[in-house]
């Protein structure tokens, strides 16, 4: 369960706003995202391309580049707001306490240095080890991530390794400083399914051994179900649903989550037709008023022209939707209040 003020919270994001001032207009890639990651737990962030999941991760690392900018919110880690601290302090945290691995291991490794050198560099910068010690640590890390013959592999360049091996090297590098939080952005998307199984198994083992938290970003609902304790579902820059993994998969509340879960083909359940979510993701330069999902939503109602609040539908289960906790349309006279209904009418006439 994701609680806001849990003592065991490792990282807390509140109302994060990361915007990109593009030539075509302002893109609110992340627009008021809040969630927290518990100590030792794995948080899955799921959503389709453009929903803001990667930008959220890069905001935590403070790796947002122009024309992007974090314009609001807080990211609390170890009692500090990562958005406010000076660059050199952030550099200390980045790589030391929070590490990140990316989807494409070939573009995130330096092609002109050996794998051993790159890990040793990370270790000596962040751990203050001497050259010899760092080398030993690099080889030890390569062996920890299941690379056979690590001493020889440490001498090899990234292009000499397969995709799965490169991702192992990335993980070895990310974990070489014993981070408390590992951010993994689509870590297995570029890999074949049998290699993905190897990497997921490895991440599980290392999570146990190092007692670290993981923020796992993926579009693959299978990978989330396999790995995550808590889940955040993002759509068009906002969190639309959040709960523990079982609740999200068994009792999804938000129509988008329900649509996603219904639309994936599942092994062993051959159906004649797949459920579909009609339409496409809204243009980030021209978002609809009110609920961002309403034009694709099978349950859309007049009140959806007012942005729904992100509220609890069960203890620890939040959803950004006007439907009642049971999933029914709100009846007249009940919550949402009359004022809200008036607002809805006003919004409608304004359109």
């Amino acid at each position: 369960m994701v609680r806001q003020d849990d003592e065991r919270t490792l990282l807390q994001i509140r109302d994060l706003q990361t915007h990109f001032a593009t030539a075509d207009g302002l893109v609110k890639a992340v627009d008021g995202v809040s969630f927290s990651i518990r100590n030792g737990a794995t948080l899955g962030v799921v959503g389709e391309s453009g929903c803001g999941k990667s930008v959220t991760a890069l905001s935590v690392m403070r790796l947002i580049e122009r024309p992007g900018r974090i314009v609001g919110g807080t990211i609390t880690f170890g009692g500090k707001n990562l958005i406010d601290i000076p660059d050199d302090e952030m550099r200390e945290i980045r790589g030391n306490q929070i590490s990140m691995i990316f989807q494409e291991p070939m573009t995130s490794l330096n092609p002109v240095y050996t794998c051993g050198n790159q890990i040793a560099e990370a270790v000596s910068i962040h751990g203050g080890m001497s050259g010899g010690e760092a080398r030993k640590r690099a080889i030890e890390m390569l062996s920890q991530v299941g690379i056979p013959d690590p001493a020889r592999r440490a001498e090899e360049y990234p292009h000499q390794l397969s995709g799965g091996m490169r991702q192992r090297v990335m993980i070895a590098m990310a974990l070489s400083t014993n981070p408390e939080l590992l951010i993994a952005d689509e870590p297995t998307t570029a890999l074949d399914v049998t290699i993905q199984a190897q990497i997921l198994e490895l991440m599980k083992a290392l999570r146990e051994r190092n007692r670290m938290s993981i923020m796992l970003i993926t579009h693959d609902l299978g990978v989330i179900a396999e790995m995550a304790d808590d889940v955040v579902v993002m759509y068009a820059g906002k969190v639309v649903e959040q709960s523990d993994v079982n609740t999200v998969y068994e009792h999804p509340h938000h129509p988008y989550t329900r649509g996603l879960l219904a639309s994936i083909p599942r092994l062993g359940e051959k159906r004649n037709r797949l459920e579909v979510i009609k339409g496409v993701v809204p243009n980030p330069l021209n978002l609809p008023a009110g609920c961002l999902f309403q034009r694709r939503c099978p349950s859309a109602m007049p009140i959806c022209n007012v942005a729904p609040p992100f509220q609890e539908v069960a203890p620890g289960h939040l959803s950004r939707c006007w439907l009642t906790p049971a999933g029914d349309p709100p009846s007249v006279g009940e919550a949402p209040s009359e004022q809200v209904a008036l607002d809805a009418a006003a919004a409608l006439s304004a359109e």
Partner: protein, 384 residues
């Protein structure tokens, strides 16, 4: 918009010479692929011209596809599934082997040994091949790379009909509008350019292009892999509808076993250029006969957190197709071989595809030993 396939097929195209005759009440398979090889030569040596080896991308593949069915072809990257699709369409020249469409031999290239024994190669001329191509179309994986950014949607979809003799511009535009409606695109988008569309819409343009010549057989090469989850299901349903409406036959190439299960009637599993297993879809998912198929199925994360299971984790990486292992190509990573005490036969003898049950072919010497008990034991002893 409902149209019968007769209406879409343009009479001007129908009279083209060399069109493939469709035998009445046909029993023969629509497509026969017989012992197909595609090797890419590796050149090296001091001058860079000597042959120093070959990547055996497709290494002796045989199967048939019946009219109206969908054959799914799955395998991991580098297994040769895309190359196989391209060689069948002759988008890549084959090394040897035979492909027959509707009883018409597209090519029949003997191996070097057969050539010495006097067998002559047969291949359709360019002109004849052009006529056959109308019936064989393809949709590619990447909807960004497979559409020419300088051509409008009307030009992209109408290019095939133009090349095949539909010179009347109004007629062509009418056809393109019908096709756009058929694949669920707005007809008024005919003058737009690819960059104005989303990934899912582009894939629909690619599908409209493939259907423009009213083909019988379409190779779908990872048509939904580049798409988001919610768009994937839209395109899969569209492909389903079009198949029923137009009586299309599909070769559906993909790496996602759940997607392939959804759309296919029969499924072939490829590993390192060869078929490991070929069976009806229910059969291959309920009773996989090849240890590689078992491992592939086991590796897929189940989108249900209550089903966190022990998987069979294959050791190591896929070997290089330039130097595949001797005997059974899978023996270096095979969990079943390990369970059986590493029999020599797997290293020494290449397993042929053989019938495990009627219509269910497996290339494994020990397929009978693939049991629930052995699978469970292998999963339990799997380690990273």
């Amino acid at each position: 918009m409902s149209m019968s396939s007769e209406q879409t097929r343009n009479p001007a195209l129908e009279t083209q010479p060399g069109s493939v005759p469709v035998p009445a009440g046909e029993e023969q398979p629509l497509l026969v692929v017989d012992n197909l090889y595609k090797h890419f030569e590796i050149r090296g040596g001091p001058l860079g011209v000597a042959r120093i080896g070959a990547v055996r991308a497709v290494d002796g593949v045989s199967f048939t596809v019946r009219s109206g069915e969908t054959l799914g072809l799955v395998g991991e990257s580098g297994c040769g599934k895309t190359t196989l699709g391209k060689v069948i369409l002759r988008l890549l020249p084959p090394t040897s082997g035979r492909v027959i469409v509707h009883g018409k031999t597209i090519f029949d290239l003997p191996t070097a040994a057969e050539r010495k024994a006097g067998r002559k190669p047969i291949a359709l001329s360019g002109q004849a091949m052009k006529a056959v191509r109308r019936d064989l179309q393809v949709v590619f994986q990447d909807p960004y790379a497979s559409l020419n950014p300088r051509m409008s949607v009307g030009e992209i979809v109408g290019e095939g009909p133009l090349v095949h003799g539909m010179s009347n511009k109004e007629q062509r535009e009418e056809l393109v509008r019908e096709l756009l409606a058929k694949v669920g695109l707005n007809q008024s988008h005919i003058h737009r350019y690819p960059h104005e569309f989303s990934g899912g819409q582009r894939q629909r343009i690619g599908i409209a292009r493939a259907l423009a010549l009213n083909p019988e057989f379409v190779v779908l090469d990872e048509p939904v892999s580049a798409l988001d989850v919610s768009i994937q299901s839209q395109v899969l349903n569209l492909l389903d509808d079009l198949q029923q409406e137009l009586g299309l036959t599909y070769l559906f190439i993909a790496h996602n076993l759940a997607v392939v299960e959804h759309i296919s009637d029969r499924v072939g599993v490829m590993y390192l250029g060869a078929l490991a297993e070929l069976a009806p879809v229910e059969e291959i998912y309920a009773h996989p006969g090849h240890p590689y198929t078992v491992a592939l199925l086991s590796a897929i994360p189940d989108p249900d957190p209550r089903h966190r299971k022990k998987r069979i984790i294959l050791k190591g990486d896929i070997p290089s197709p330039a130097n595949p292992p001797s005997g059974c190509r899978f023996h270096t990573r095979c969990w079943l071989r390990e369970r059986l005490g590493n029999p020599e036969r797997c290293v020494a003898e290449t397993p042929e595809l053989r019938d495990l049950a009627p219509g269910h072919a497996v290339a494994c010497h020990f397929a009978e030993d693939v049991s629930a008990e052995n699978i469970a034991m292998a999963a339990r002893s799997s380690s990273i």
